[in-house]
Amino acid sequence: MNEKDLLKKLNNLKNIQPDDNWKKNYREILYSQISAGAAVNKSESNLRTIWESLAPGRMFISMAKPVWITSLASILILVVGIGGVYASKNSKPGDSLYIAKIISEKAQLVMTFNEKDKAKLGLEFATNRAKEITQVLEESKEPEDKKGKQVEQLTQDFKKEISQVKNRLTTIKAAEMNNQNKEEEPEVFGANLGRNDQRMEVAEPIKPEVKNDILEENKPAVIATTTKENLNSPDKALEEAEKMFDEKNYGGTIDKIEEAKQIINKEASENGQVKGVSETATSTN
């Protein structure tokens, strides 16, 4: 007997069926038994059942699992990433985590949109390079050839960072000059915008006087800041820092860069104050 015949014969056993009368009788008995035992539930239409099975609650339960897994995985990646960046903070060229440090620096730069903040970051990175050079030079285990190469690379990086910062500072200055020129004109009109015609009529003769007062008040502050810039500009500090760097005075370089950073911060806070004063003055109109 081959397998086909055997399967056919086995399939013939399908004809073994319960007695029809018994089936019918027991169907009724079963229905009465289950009706007696349970709370009555109305039979639902198929459409309703499909809708319920697709309802948000069930969808949420079925979707929750992958969402939890992905969120846990992303948190894990984030924690590992942040940990790696922290661990790489004090690394120097040649360390395995140095790449992570450079990548995190680049990422920081990409994530910053304000030009001033970018310049500040550039300064920070330049100090990092100077610090790394001192670290490399202090390292006694490394052979001299390797040290020399690393220092050379770091020097190039330092100069690159400083030149980038300088470029940024010049663009910031140019932008500020433009803004100052623009602010002088539209401020007079700007105060009237958003007001209705009636009030404009009332306000028109008075306004120019008030505006002029404000401008007069603001002018000395602006002049003061610009003179300060001339006396103590970050560019100068950076030039000095570069000089010191060329003289291999790395400690002095770091100090000068820090100085430049402070000057930028000061400028930013002063500009903020002047802006704030002018804003309050215009809002009182």
Binding site: L6, D19, Y26, L30
Partner: protein, 191 residues
Amino acid sequence: MKIGKIEEKLLLYKIKKNDKEAFVKAYDLYIDQLYRFIYFKVGSREEAEDLCSAVFLKTWNYILENSLKDHKTLKALLYKIARNLIIDHYRKNKDKENLSLDADNGIEVIDEKQSAVKTMELKTDLLVLETKLPELKDEYREVIILRFVNELSIKEVAEILDKSKGNTRVLIFRALKALKELLENDEKINK
């Protein structure tokens, strides 16, 4: 009576919500194959009927207790309950009598309305198989009934037997081989 997969899932969903009519529909759908399964295991028509009714009642109680969450298909649940009830049945009747598939019992089960030729053919098939099936290991017999008589998929058989698909495939292959050998030996003796 055959049923589509989506229809089966809908039915299970309704039953999970204690829908009595859906359960009675499930009874209509599965009673024949479940009866066959039990009949081949206990070998007596009356006992198969009693056990069948017990299976459906127990399944309904199981649903009421809201324990259906773990089961993906109603079919697998019905078979599992049937298997447990058969084991209990064996335990209870262990001392009373030794049960085996009886050829006369089997022939009685065939529908009387069928044509005489077909009935004769079936009778011979059943005689051969029904006498040989009990000689098989319980595990093999079970798997042959599920796969080749009741035409369940390997996935369904695996779910009922709590085995992996691979294990089930191997079991089916061995069971079929064992049955073939039994039948061949029988033929040789008859010759």
